[in-house]
């Protein structure tokens, strides 16, 4: 029988870093899954900057552990990993994602899209926890095992957690701001959807006591660069990320935070 009407569309607008992205699906269960996954970041009345139609297919059997492959042709981006395929045209603001019913594939696509958007405007996603205290944001950077989850878990009640895994950094005329993200790590807890000017970045190191040490400019820049999440290989974007990281490290204090894993470390973070 001829289908006379398209299945009803369910749309979920997910706003991270002040950038709303609309995800449209014909599957109401998947829409609810997105609303649960991005609780606190779903905006009912946001005007989306970008829109993605999500085509749900049977699981491919391929996992999310493969590397992301990306290319850009004539202004259109193509992302592929074992568990998803996506196309996106930033010029028209439209895109399409093909994946199975799961919240992880679309989460990866959102991260990739945000890295590209931020790269073009002098921001980035940083592999770091971040938290807000006294109206200022503090970032805690390091690779897996450095202590991002630990320091997030130890945060006292007056601290607002922005993320325990991926920090969202944007630049405005005044300086750099950190935004809360739903991109969670081991805590499996989304951050609060708030933002604050960045007061400092701490490079994490576990040790027998708590102390803060200066970091030479070159090392600070290297560490920031190595912890920036970026998947594209387009030379112009890579150059922009490099310039942004250099500016960021020259603008925001970068310190080494050696800490013993108990709550006293937060006495230093003010």
């Amino acid at each position: 029988m001829t289908q006379l009407a398209a299945p009803p569309a369910h749309a979920v607008a997910v706003e991270v870093g002040g950038i709303p992205i609309l995800l449209r699906t014909s599957n109401p269960e998947f829409a609810r899954m997105l609303e649960d996954r991005y609780l606190g970041f779903v905006k009912a009345f946001a005007v989306p900057v970008f829109e993605f139609d999500v085509d749900l297919v049977e699981p491919s059997g391929m996992g999310p552990d493969d590397d992301v492959r990306m290319r850009c042709e004539n202004g259109r981006w193509f992302f592929r990993r074992g568990d998803f395929y996506a196309e996106w045209n930033p010029g028209t603001g439209r895109g399409r994602i093909r994946q199975s019913v799961n919240p992880y594939s679309v989460d990866s696509v959102l991260r990739i899209v945000h890295t590209i958007v931020l790269a073009n405007e002098g921001g980035f996603l940083l592999h770091s926890a971040s938290a807000m205290r006294g109206g200022r944001a503090f970032l805690f950077s390091g690779l897996s095992g450095a202590g991002k989850t630990t320091i997030s878990r130890l945060a006292p009640p007056d601290v607002t957690l922005l993320t325990d895994e991926v920090s969202y950094v944007r630049r405005d005329p005044i300086g750099y701001y950190a935004f809360g993200t739903p991109f969670a790590g081991e805590l499996a807890r989304v951050g609060d959807n708030v933002s604050a000017p960045i007061a400092a970045v701490y490079l994490l190191d576990k040790g027998p006591d708590n102390r803060i040490d200066p970091v030479p400019a070159v090392e600070a820049t290297q560490r920031i660069l190595r912890n920036i999440l970026f998947f594209a290989e387009e030379p112009d974007l890579v150059r922009r990320i490099f310039e942004t990281a250099c500016d960021f490290a020259a603008t925001v204090p970068v310190r080494r935070l050696t800490f013993f894993p108990d709550q006293r470390v937060w006495e230093l973070i003010r």
Partner: protein
């Protein structure tokens, strides 16, 4: 000695921090940090000055190092940077002019 000219690849991004140069390949995002001596060579790599003259002027003239040792180390550095595609090397002068759009 065969003349050797060196120039920066266009597929890089570089920033001097203090007296060290941080360079990133725009092709594969590999990150390099040059010490002050290597930074002096990098800054003098204009495509028109022979490497031997760069070593004599920018290295031996500024740092306490024997010319033979300096040239040998400079050749090694140049080979490494060339292998990573961030430095161009030629027996002829290298044009570093950016093509103008017609």
């Amino acid at each position: 000695m065969t003349p050797k000219y060196i120039a920066h690849s266009r597929a890089i991004a570089a920033r001097k921090l203090g007296d060290e140069m941080v360079i990133m390949s725009a092709v594969d995002s590999t990150l390099f940090t040059l010490n002050p001596v290597a930074t002096a060579i990098w800054e003098a790599a204009d495509g028109r000055t022979q490497l031997s003259d760069i070593v004599a002027g920018a290295v031996c003239g500024e740092f306490d190092v024997q010319p033979e040792v300096a040239y040998r180390d400079a050749e090694e550095l140049v080979e490494q940077l060339f292998a990573h595609g961030i430095l161009l090397v030629s027996e002829q002068p290298i044009s570093t002019d950016v093509p103008q759009e017609s």
